[in-house]
Symmetry: C2
Subunit: 213 residues, 2 copies
DNA sequence: CACCAAATGCGACCCGAGTTGCGTTACGCT
DNA sequence: AGCGTAACGCAACTCGGGTCGCATTTGGTG
């Protein structure tokens, strides 16, 4: 089973038996996604237009509207691609170290305009289209799932209570950072990232994220 | 000094001595802001158009573009109005109670589509225009400032260490909620809100938000 | 290899957001 | 009360996003 879970009928490898998974369609899709990503870093989300993608991908405007229907659809598809990477959570030996590394990773990503443009666009697109919102939801669910081993190691070491919810802890680390970046629009430095990690760690130790006492 | 701090030259009561703070301009501005808010709850941010505001406010399209320049400008101005309310943080007698009440308030606001439409639009607009982003920044800075007494009371009661940063604590409560709402696009129930309050409380007790030890 | 359907290319068209120039109204001041 | 100017109303225009109908290519299939 391909990492692309099904969504709307439009994009994605059209189910291994149906239609034509052939070469041209795949080539088109890849070219389009490259153009979308380069467009995002170049003009940002507000400046990304379907016509730009058409020119820089060699795919006709009509085709883009037919298969992706809008800029948000293009971004949602690009998000699927982004979710297929091989990222794994840090493993420093201690929970505190892992959480700090995780927070710094987020801070560094959005500190670099080029690296942060695409993720920011994904979040912005979710305001405009339910399709993009669902893609985001799936992306983060899968991403937080990858953090489970990190928490299990900490439980095994006795750093946090048994029954600690991995997802809740992972979310607790990221939330303050994204909050500052995209809600309150405040600057994000390493001190804030460290504080977020510390706060999540303290809450986890107190058993706030443990289901069974 | 009016609660409207100055920003771009365009909107806002034009400084009590200059130009003409007169009746028509003020009436126009009020009518426009009403139309913006009703438009947001009716069509949401993606569907809010300048022309809609023109029709429902009785103010001509040209005037809107002249004074606010775009939909994002209109929203930024409406945000200033929203910041002028008389909201005060809860006071239940205990820090835990206050934080829980705060979290529930956020959850309830965004649980109601009508009440949540405008705030969500403000956040969305900040992705499109720096003017809206700065308005948001100011709004939340002022809002978190109002939470200072809440934390001071807790310090006086000995519930959290002296030197606990009020802003950091207030942010810690809201962050997980907004994170779920607008970043990961996950549903938000009362249990999650309660957990956010508990996590912030645990971190505060552990001294994570205290500057001096 | 020939055929059919899916997928793409292509240009013309429509519509609405945003702009411009000018005339009109109303506020503020003497 | 009367004047000057800021603020607003108005209609026409431009321009780019998005759509439509049809021709063309591509890939799977018997």
């Amino acid at each position: 089973m391909p990492p692309n879970s099904s969504r709307t009928p439009s994009p994605g490898p059209p189910a291994p038996g149906t239609a034509r998974p052939g070469g041209r369609t795949a080539r088109t899709r890849a070219a389009v996604r490259d153009a979308v990503l380069s467009g995002l870093v170049e003009h940002g989300y507000p400046g990304l237009t379907v016509e730009y993608v058409a020119e820089h991908s060699g795919v006709h405007k009509t085709t883009l509207y037919r298969r992706w229907s809008s800029v948000e659809g293009l971004i949602a598809d690009a998000l699927d691609l982004a979710g297929e990477d091989s990222w794994t959570p840090p493993d420093t030996g201690t929970l505190g170290g892992d959480l700090h590394a995780l927070a710094q990773e987020v801070a560094d990503t959005f500190g670099d305009p080029a690296a942060g443009a695409a993720p920011a666009a994904f979040i912005a697109a979710a305001f405009q289209s339910e399709q993009a919102a669902e893609a985001l939801r799936g992306f983060y669910a899968e991403r937080f799932g990858r953090c489970a081993p990190l928490v299990e190691r900490a439980v095994a070491r006795g750093e946090v209570p048994a029954g600690t919810d991995p997802g809740a802890l992972a979310r607790a680390v990221s939330a303050p950072l994204f909050f500052r970046l995209f809600i309150t629009r405040e600057p994000l430095d390493r001190a804030v990232a460290g504080q977020a990690a510390d706060a999540a760690l303290a809450a986890a130790r107190a058993g706030v994220f443990a289901s069974t006492a």
